[in-house]
Amino acid sequence: MKFLLLSIALISSFSQAVELAYITNEKDDNISIIDLSQQRVVETIAIGQRPRGIIFNRAQTIAYVCASDSDTIQIIDLSNNQVIGELPSGEDPETIALHPNEKTIYAANEDDAILTVIDIPSRTVIAQIDVGVEPEGLAVSPDGSLVVVTSETTNMVHWIDTATNKNIANTLVGSRPRSAKFSSDGKQLWVSSEIGGTVAVIDVATKKITTKFSFKIRGIHRDRVQPVGVELSNDQRFAFIALGPANHVAVINRHTMAIEKYILVGRRVWQLAFNKAQNQLLTTNGVSGDVSIIDINKMKTIKSIKVGRYPWGIAIREQK
């Protein structure tokens, strides 16, 4: 009987690919790995100090993690979850973005008002570009021609030509811009402003704001509604906005450009990530130290999972 159960368990685990969510815990200097099929933390990896931004390469074999207080980007081999190397990042890297060529990585150096451009094969810094105070959100356009960085205290989106590494334009947005996200067609850039309490949709061609959302949640003062993480679904239907200390995620219908719903999650919701099928959205909740799983079909939180202290960044991959 035991054997039978075990083999059933084995078969079921082989029959469908397991998805793993990697969550950086800012105040624990480690990464919690959640197995989405079991909905629990299955492993914890020790890493550099104050880990924040985390991304994978396209093949999902390698993770890059900003260890902000160690002033480095750490490279993790995802086959065994070991740190296998480091990239020179400049001081205090907070977020990173990978160019589609997978050879260039961009890091926002929050303390130095600089965007660092790093060549991965040679592990060297190619360029450092002056941007505004406290650069934060980073995004590379789908075609790889542009990289944008938001600066929290300068309140701008800086547009940089990836061919020349030159700042070509700047767009003023609401106070304390955090995340930037290109739509999959590369025509729109979505930018959240934490203190301004708004999300701006910018037309990439003209670099002008075309739509601006502000959020109203019953019983929560508007000053506590502080947009941070942004995710856009691939089917172009929805935008999800993490609203920080308002403890909700806003759902925006992208066809009607109207806010449809607010979903209650953990405390001070920060960053967001989809699973592969995009039927689940995970949120990192800084103050409650957990991750909420939102079921996209039900538009409801179905589970919260305790992770480390101050979970910050999140990335999800399929286990091969």
Binding site: G132, V133, E134, A169, L172, K208, S214, H221
Partner: protein
């Protein structure tokens, strides 16, 4: 309003792009004067930590650096001019000289008397004055010196912050101990007002007038002094110079927490604050000043940032226009406190959450959850529109 804001932002964005692409764009240059009136510090009993001589100024310098990074993208440049005065005549001359030279922005790190002199001098002049250090309630309540702005939180705001916390913790009975100097008595008045507002009982009030050396005898003197017939939950101490306050914690007759000028202090800023991006500000400050950031530095930082923020958004250097913008709904100052800050129209006070700090940790931040206000919770701290005689 949002439509207008969108238009404004679109307009600004357009102008920025034009500016960036044309090398011949005219740069907007602006000098901000930081005036410090040097007051000799009275002697104190305790071997206290002396605040650095450049307190306040370094915060303003950092804000200039930050604003110039933004200014670079907007063709705006800010410069700080530091001026020290030791007497009233010199102070007035400095103001006039700078005005003659065409400078219109003044941050004042001075006592109340000099603020009044400056306000008098500024009558009918198109200038912006910002009080960065004086906490007097008088300025926010009756003698308003408008259109002066205040980045320093008032005594009333700090007392309210403490009283809200007491209410939240259900520490309702307070033993109040105070020094005998004028600023100590001002603190007492402000705490009495806050206690009344939030239903906190001051069960006894005692003036500290001992002249023994507490470094040797605090363990003997303080328990006797704090032994009263009634039970108390907490000791509030008003001692603006920290003459004796630091000796109260752990020496009170009943083992009770000490708040106010020692123990749990209400402050605009402290080096333990790290949330909402504060860690970055603290790091930048340390790199610049080679020391930690204190409250005065933070107030100086906010004073420069307020002017610069208005200049960034309006691309204008006219004080009147900037002041109008600062008082409009469009003005929002991100100040590492987890919410946007703005100025109260009735008395020019910058609204802000107040940190409640023990020497090595942030204990709480007021307004406390559950304290409600019809317009803005931050207005539960300090003189609200109805109470203030400023108009």
């Amino acid at each position: 309003m949002i439509g207008f804001m969108n238009r404004l932002i679109t307009l600004l964005t357009a102008s920025i792009i034009i500016y960036c692409s044309s090398a011949a764009a005219i740069e907007l240059k602006l000098q901000i004067n930081y005036l410090k009136f040097v007051v000799p510090q009275p002697p104190v009993l305790s071997n206290k930590i002396i605040p650095p001589a450049n307190s306040g100024l370094k915060g303003a310098v950092l804000a200039i650096n930050d604003s110039n990074i933004t200014g670079k993208f907007l063709q705006q440049r800010f410069k700080l001019n530091y001026i020290e005065s030791v007497n009233n005549q010199d102070f007035l001359n400095q103001l006039s000289n700078q005005y003659q030279l065409g400078h219109r922005f003044f941050i004042l790190n001075t006592p109340l008397a000099q603020l009044k002199i400056a306000a008098q001098w500024a009558q009918g002049k198109n200038v912006i004055l910002i009080n960065s250090d004086e906490a007097s309630d008088q300025l926010r309540h009756s003698q308003c010196l408008l259109p002066m702005l205040h980045t320093a939180p008032s005594n009333a705001m700090k007392s309210d912050a403490l009283a809200q916390w007491l209410l939240h913790r259900r520490l309702n009975k307070v033993l109040l101990i105070h020094g005998k100097k004028t600023p100590d008595l001002a603190l007492v008045k402000s705490f009495q007002r806050a206690a009344k507002r939030f239903g906190i009982k001051i069960i006894e009030q005692k003036a500290w007038d001992f002249n023994t050396d507490l470094r040797r005898s605090a363990q003997q003197e303080i328990p006797l002094f704090t032994q009263i017939r009634k039970d108390y939950d907490v000791v509030y101490v008003a001692d603006s110079n920290k003459d004796f306050a630091e000796y109260l914690p752990f020496n009170t007759y009943l083992p009770r927490p000490v708040i106010g000028s020692a123990g749990l202090e209400p402050l605009a800023w402290h080096f333990v604050i790290e949330q909402w991006g504060a860690a970055q500000l603290q790091n930048r400050f340390k790199a610049l000043a080679q020391r930690v950031m204190n409250e005065s530095d933070f107030n100086g930082y906010l004073a420069v940032r307020s002017i610069a923020q208005a200049v960034h958004q309006t691309n204008n250097g006219d004080p009147n226009k900037l002041l109008n913008f600062i008082h409009s709904d469009l003005f929002e100052l991100a100040a590492y406190k987890g919410r946007k800050l703005s100025y109260r129209a009735w008395n020019g006070q910058l609204r802000m959450p107040i940190a409640l700090v023990q020497p090595h940790a942030l204990v709480s931040q007021s307004p406390q959850t559950g304290v409600l206000h019809p317009v803005n919770e931050l207005d539960t701290l300090g003189y609200d529109q109805q109470e203030s005689h400023c108009r």
